[in-house]
Amino acid sequence: MLMNRNKKAMIFRVAEIIIHELKLEEITPETFDPDLDLVNELGVDSMDLATIALVLQDEYCIIIDEDDYPKLRNIRMIADYIEKKQIA
């Protein structure tokens, strides 16, 4: 239950970061579908993704390898990735 709450909070925070960094005006963290494909459905490009990754590194004190960017396809996958990095 605790895990679920933490994960939910992380998904919410990642959504906030993406909205802020990409200046998305029509989405809120509450309405951001965590399974929305950031590249194919939201139109995020490599420079946007690099920016988001740098901000996430700061926020969660992790290192996101450049080669791992393609794994960050949606908010749920990003949250999973951060969790794994924090445990490692």
């Binding site: 590249v39 139109g43 420079m47 946007d48 993704l49 690099a50 920016t51 740098l54 393609p70």
Partner: protein, 359 residues
């Protein structure tokens, strides 16, 4: 002049401190520059050979190498308009109109401009492109008039280029440093400055198999680096370049070895970025993923081309977020490339005056 060896330049704090991105953005000038350049992250380019005709023939020309020169030119405006619409639909926001000589088909340039308002034309500057085509125009300069006559078989080329493009806000002159025109740039710079034109630098990158006199070697790259830095300090207001641009384009290794080229020709990934969206169209409107980069038929090991660097260095943001000077250098590089490629974009002062080695 002392030779500047980039490999001996000390790098700031890399071993002792891990910088957070937010710390690198803490300085107000750096934050402002980041916000300025990131507004243009939406640019997604593709390149297009407009015709297989040219009004001059230059030694070492990229267009007349490989298969693309044999494509049957399609000069039907309806087909080009349709192509531009399709390109827009698949997310392309910036077009580079090149080979062989785009000024030969000005009606097609107008069609492209009507459909896709951001872009650039690479021209030899011999024939004026009408003002109704509002793209950035890169006018290629390969030395003084004597050298142009020898290498490009064109008489009084610089004078003609300046007659056509002086005072034209679209125009940026592009001086290509070859092995044998390095010091001629001073004479060209005097002319450029006297006519209040803007210039940027390119480094000749040999086509595959080229072994002629223009090909660079270690010594000519070092001399080019020193001359570029000297010109940068002497003609600041006329030159769109930065110390990091000098470092990246005159390093002993080419751009691919330094940064891993992100164009499809060297990048198999279709997940995101250039590997996903970039196409290089031939004059018959066909394209081939295996050959796709901004200067096809260049020897990748030798590639130091300014157009390639604009995309490849910029894409490696992550590698430059390691210390303040390296990040500032990257910002200077991106600010320079945007000023060179986007009409109306004003370059700021370089944030990092020192020479930083590519990370």
């Amino acid at each position: 002049m002392n030779t500047t060896d980039i490999t001996t330049i000390p790098q700031c704090d890399k071993e002792t401190k891990k910088w957070k991105f937010s710390e690198l953005l803490a300085e107000p000038d750096v934050r402002r520059r980041w916000e300025k350049v990131r507004k243009f992250f939406f640019l997604r380019e593709s390149t297009y050979d407009m015709t297989n005709r040219c009004n001059i023939r230059c030694d070492g020309c990229y267009y007349y190498e490989g298969e693309k020169q044999f494509a049957q030119g399609n000069e039907d405006p309806v087909a080009w308009r349709e192509l531009m619409k399709e390109e827009k639909a698949r997310g392309i926001t910036y077009v580079v109109l090149a080979g062989a000589e785009p000024s030969m088909v000005s009606q097609l340039l107008r069609v492209c401009y009507e459909e896709m308002p951001l872009g650039c034309i690479a021209t030899n500057g011999f024939k004026l492109i009408p003002a109704s085509v509002g793209y950035r125009i890169h006018v290629s300069v390969w030395g003084n008039d004597e050298t142009s006559l020898r290498v490009r078989r064109a008489k009084n080329l610089l004078s003609k280029q300046i007659d056509n493009y002086r005072g034209d806000p679209r125009a940026v002159f592009v001086y290509t440093f070859t092995r044998d025109n390095i010091n001629e740039v001073y004479e060209v710079m005097d002319t450029i400055a006297a006519h209040d034109c803007k210039i940027t630098f390119n480094v000749f990158s040999s086509p595959v198999g080229y072994a002629g006199p223009l090909r660079h070697n270690k010594d000519s790259l070092e001399r080019t680096r020193n001359v570029m830095l000297d010109i940068l300090s002497q003609y600041t207001e006329y030159v769109l370049f930065s110390p990091y641009s000098v470092a990246a384009h005159t390093y002993k290794h080419g751009l691919h070895e330094l940064y891993e080229c992100s164009y499809p020709r060297r990048n198999p990934s279709t997940d995101i970025g250039l590997g996903r969206s970039f196409r290089q169209y031939r004059a018959d409107l066909s394209w081939d993923r295996d050959a796709a980069c901004c200067v096809p038929d260049t020897d990748c090991e030798e590639c130091r081309h300014y157009a390639a660097g604009s995309a490849i260095v910029t894409a490696r943001l992550y590698r430059h977020v390691i210390d303040p000077d390296t990040f500032k250098s990257w910002l200077d590089y991106v600010d320079t490339y945007l000023a060179v490629w986007v009409v109306g974009y004003e370059k700021g002062d370089n944030l990092c005056r020192g020479l930083i080695a590519p990370p």
